[in-house]
C-alpha cells in the first residue's frame, strides 16, 4: 500500500514545493500590502458582503465602482465569509495559489520539456518577484494561476473548462484580453472556424454582463485612463499620435532594458536587454516543439503590446509577473537555441 502510494506520488515535485514554501516564508511579510489596491479590493468585498453590491463604500456618495475588476473582491468576500474578516487569510490563499502555479507548470510542461522542465520550475520557485508577489494580496498570482489553468484544460481538450477560465481571468485582470486574443487568433490561423466561433461567442457571452455594467455606469474607466495623456495630470488632455509613440518607446525601454531581466532572473534588471530578446527567441522556438507553444507565444506578445500602450506612470515590473513563467521558458530555449546556432556558425 505504502509502496503503491510512493510510486504514484512524485517525490521530486513534492520536495520542490516544500523548498518553495520555505523560500516564500523567508521572503514573507505579515503586513498587509500597502500599495493601495488591496484596501480597495477588501472594501469592495465588504460592500458585497453587506449586500450593497460593488460600491466604493469609502466614498461619501458610495458610487458603483467602475475601476476595479470584480474577481479579487469576490474571492476576498468568499474567504471572509468562510473564515472571518482578516487579511491574513488572503495572504494564505496567495501562498497556496503560488504553490498551485508551480504544480500547474509541472503538469502542463511535463511532457513537452523533458529535463528542461526542472530548469523552468527551479527558475520559477527561485524568482524574487514571484516570492515577493506570493505574499501580496494582489490579483497577479490568482490571475497567473487561472491563466495556467486555462492552458492546462486546453491541453487536456477540456474546452468548456478553458472558456470558463478565460472568462474568470477577464474578471480578475483586464489584460486577460491578451489571453482571449491568443486563443481566438490561434483558431483563426488554424482555420478552425468551429472552435473560433464557439470560443468567441462563449467568451463574448461571459464578459458581456460586466462590460455592459461598465458602459451603463459611465464607460470603461481603464479605457479613459489609457487615452489620457497622464492619469495624474488630467489637465494635459487626451493622448495624441506623437504621445503614443513616446509612450511606446518609454515603456519599451523600461520593460526590455530594465524590468524584463529582473523578472526572469534575479538580476535587478542587469542584462535585461539580452535576456528579453533571448526569451522571445526561445518562445518562437518553442512554437515548433509544442502544440501550446503558439498559444503561449501569442499570449505573451499580446500582453506585451498592452503593456507598451499603457500609461507610462503605471509602468512597473509587476505587469510582467503574469507572463514571467513563459518568459523563463523562453529564456531556457532561447539560451540553448542561440548557443546551438553560434556553435553551428563556427
Amino acid at each position: 500500500m505504502k509502496l503503491k502510494f510512493l510510486r504514484t506520488f512524485d517525490v521530486k515535485i513534492a520536495a520542490l514545493l516544500f523548498l518553495q514554501l520555505i523560500l516564500i516564508f523567508l521572503a514573507f511579510d505579515f503586513q498587509i500590502f500597502m500599495g493601495g489596491d488591496v484596501h480597495s479590493d477588501i472594501l469592495l468585498a465588504e460592500s458585497i458582503l453587506s449586500g450593497n453590491g460593488f460600491k466604493d463604500i469609502w466614498d461619501p456618495q458610495q458610487p458603483q465602482d467602475n475601476w476595479r475588476r470584480p474577481g479579487m473582491p469576490v474571492i476576498i468576500a468568499f474567504l471572509y465569509l468562510l473564515f472571518g474578516h482578516h487579511y491574513l487569510i488572503i495572504k494564505l490563499l496567495m501562498v497556496l495559489l503560488t504553490l498551485g502555479t508551480t504544480v500547474l507548470l509541472y503538469l502542463i510542461f511535463k511532457a513537452e520539456m523533458g529535463s528542461n522542465l526542472w530548469f523552468l520550475l527551479l527558475l520559477f520557485i527561485s524568482s524574487a518577484t514571484i516570492l515577493e508577489f506570493a505574499r501580496y494580496e494582489l490579483s497577479e498570482i490568482p490571475y497567473l494561476f487561472v491563466v495556467l489553468l486555462s492552458i492546462y484544460f486546453w491541453k487536456r481538450q477540456k474546452y468548456w473548462a478553458t472558456i470558463l477560465c478565460l472568462i474568470i481571468s477577464y474578471h480578475i485582470r483586464t489584460e486577460a484580453l491578451a489571453l482571449m486574443g491568443a486563443f481566438l487568433i490561434f483558431y483563426l490561423f488554424q482555420k478552425n472556424w468551429r472552435n473560433l466561433i464557439i470560443f468567441g461567442a462563449s467568451i463574448l457571452v461571459g464578459i458581456l454582463p460586466w462590460t455592459l455594467r461598465s458602459i451603463i455606469i459611465g464607460g470603461n474607466q481603464q479605457i479613459k485612463v489609457l487615452l489620457a495623456k497622464n492619469e495624474y495630470y488630467l489637465d494635459a488632455g487626451m493622448i495624441g499620435f506623437t504621445d503614443l509613440i513616446q509612450r511606446v518607446v518609454h515603456n519599451f525601454k523600461l520593460y526590455f532594458f530594465k524590468y524584463g531581466g529582473g523578472v526572469i532572473l534575479n538580476t535587478e534588471g542587469f542584462l535585461s536587454f539580452l535576456i528579453m530578446p533571448l526569451a522571445l527567441v526561445g518562445l518562437t522556438l518553442f512554437i515548433k516543439m509544442s502544440r501550446i507553444g503558439k498559444i503561449i507565444f501569442l499570449f505573451v506578445i499580446f500582453h506585451l503590446l498592452i503593456m507598451l500602450l499603457w500609461q507610462p506612470s503605471a509602468t512597473h515590473f509587476r505587469y510582467l509577473i503574469t507572463i514571467s513563467p513563459f518568459l523563463m521558458l523562453g529564456l531556457i530555449y532561447g539560451f540553448f537555441g542561440t548557443v546551438k546556432f553560434i556553435k553551428e556558425l563556427f
Binding site: L23, L26, A27, F28, D29, F30, Q31, M34, G36, H39, S40, I42, L43, I57, W58, D59, P60, F119, L122, L123, S126, S127, A128, L131, Y232, Y233, L234, D235, L265, N266, T267, I332, F335, F336, V339, K340
Partner: protein
Amino acid sequence: MRKIFWLVIILNFILLIPRFKANLSILKRNLAGEIRASNRMELNELLNAFDWLKRQKERRAIREDAVVVCRQPQFCYYYSGFRSINFPFTENQDVVFNALIQRDLIIAENTEPLCILYLNKVVFDSVKYFQLLYRTGGNPPILGIFAVKKDEVAKLLQAQQ
C-alpha cells in the same frame, strides 16, 4: 551547455540570499507582533494619523459623517472609518480650493509628490480657511490634518454672492 544553465540556476538562488537577509529582521519583528515593521516612516506616520482620526471619531470629537480629502481615500476609510475622497489632480488652485471647502478634513502630506503638486500649495496659501488639528514631528512636518473652517468659508461664499 546544460552545465552553464545549472550555474545560472544556482546563481539565481544565491542572489536570493541578500534579500532574505534583509527580510530576516522584518520577519523577526513581525513574529514578535510588530506587524508594521516593513513600512517606511512616512507611511507609519500616515497610519498613525488615521489611528488618531479613528480615536477622535470614537470619542465623538469629530462628527462621524465628516469627509476627509486625502491622497489615499481607501486607506483613510479602511483605517479610520471616515469616508474620504481624492483632491482634484489639477494645478488649477481654484478648482482644488473649491473642492476642499466642500469637505470637512484634509490630510496634507509633505513627502508625497501628488500632495506637493496639487494640494499643499492650496492649503498653505489659504490658511485662513483651514485649521491645523494634528501634525507629526519634523520640520516641515511629514503630514498635517486640517479642518475646514466652515464659518470662514460661509463668510467667503456670502461675500462672493
